[in-house]
Amino acid sequence: MKETDKKDMWIAQLAAMEATKELEEAKVSWDREIDIFSIIENAGLPLLFRPLKHLSGAYIPANESSDLKAGILINSDHPRSRQRYTAAHEYAHHIQDQTMSLDRETEIVGRTQQRMLPEHERFAEVFASWFLMPPQLIGNIKKALGINFDYPKPEDIYQLSLVLGTSYRAIITQLVALKEISWTQANRLRKWQPKDLKERISLRRFTDTPWNDIWEINKHYNGRSIHPKVGDELRLCLEETPSTGYIWISSDWDPAIILVDQRFVESEGEKIGEKGRREFNIKPEYAGESSLSFSLQRPWLGKKSEVDSFHIQLIIESEYLGVNPKLLLVEA
């Protein structure tokens, strides 16, 4: 093995170990997206979102002689997945050597191009990947959502990226690094852009902003917690057999969420009234915590006839700008 390869491997191992240590210290849950913004704020680092032209983010270290506190600046115009990655990248600079960092591009660049980066930047890239996409978390979500990495479908990998709160490209690169998928599979997945996948899922031309996503939610999401954004589309599909009289009914409806439409789709080859799926098209309207609850029941008999239920917690995100007001109250 070449000396440069050995060094590369050593930096990657060190960054992965540091990320794991930080996650354990933060006592994260291994079944939902890593709350990187809270972790940074809990570490006492002010985090500010501002519109920037050519910067993804910046880390400014503390300077005791002038009372300058360390802090992280994030581009408020970037999509949320990218902001999260930038935040983890800048946090790595704080963990590693506390040197100033102005990051023009923080999106994951892939192993080959990573070698062109200085050592501390390579450390930050690997740290960010392992911090937001640790193997334990990927493994748990993959299992819970029933995703098969032997034959990875682009739609499944896109949904995985949404649940993890990372970009589609970043998760592919991390899956290769973790040897979950091969280079060939990764290259095949990379041929798809998130915009194409959104169009394929929605069966329409996707003209919304890159900020918004389309979630395909099924029974595997029951009991989970996800972070959709205001304006995202949530397509909830639940199996139903109308001839039995049992249909999916929403038990309560939060005004922060809009039910755009619902319909029953028959499965191919089934007779009318036989097995199919009920599709709910939902849009979160306001930021905040909410939930969706559905009950499979005979409507004329009510709740007592319930034979199945579905519940999902929604933490609806909006675009961030400025500072988290809660932090100012702590300071005050």
Binding site: K53, H54, A58, V323, E331
Partner: protein
């Protein structure tokens, strides 16, 4: 305080609130100053009492002096490094970085003042 000074103070308060992206409702709720008064203060149409100014400065995490006088340019190694590193960036990005460093400096100053006060 002259009318001109009132307008200058008000505009600095408004600009800081907007920089932090705080709504007038939020500021009103957490300082006890009515929303209409915050609006009038920010447009220099109403005098701000020393208690009100202290409460606003505390919430925004800036010292009261920041709103009352022109600030000297921060001179330290971090800022010099920042200027050097930001050489190829647009003017607006440079301004954002300097403004952020300023925010961090005042946050740090407040921490050290609180620390000193606590230590006696």
């Amino acid at each position: 305080m002259s009318k001109e000074e009132m307008i200058k103070l008000g505009s600095r308060l408004k600009e800081t609130r907007e920089y932090l992206n705080l709504s007038q409702e939020f500021v009103s709720k957490n300082t006890g100053i009515p929303r209409s008064a915050i609006s009038a203060i920010e447009y220099g149409k109403r005098k701000v009492s020393s208690i009100e100014l202290a409460n606003l400065a505390k919430l925004y995490n800036y010292p009261v002096s920041y709103f009352l006088k022109e600030q000297d340019m921060i001179e330290d190694q971090t800022l010099n490094n920042l200027y050097r590193a930001a050489g190829d960036l647009t003017e607006s990005d440079k301004q954002e970085l300097i403004r952020f460093a300023e925010f961090l400096r005042y946050s740090g100053k407040r921490d050290s003042t609180t620390r000193d006060e606590r230590n006696g």
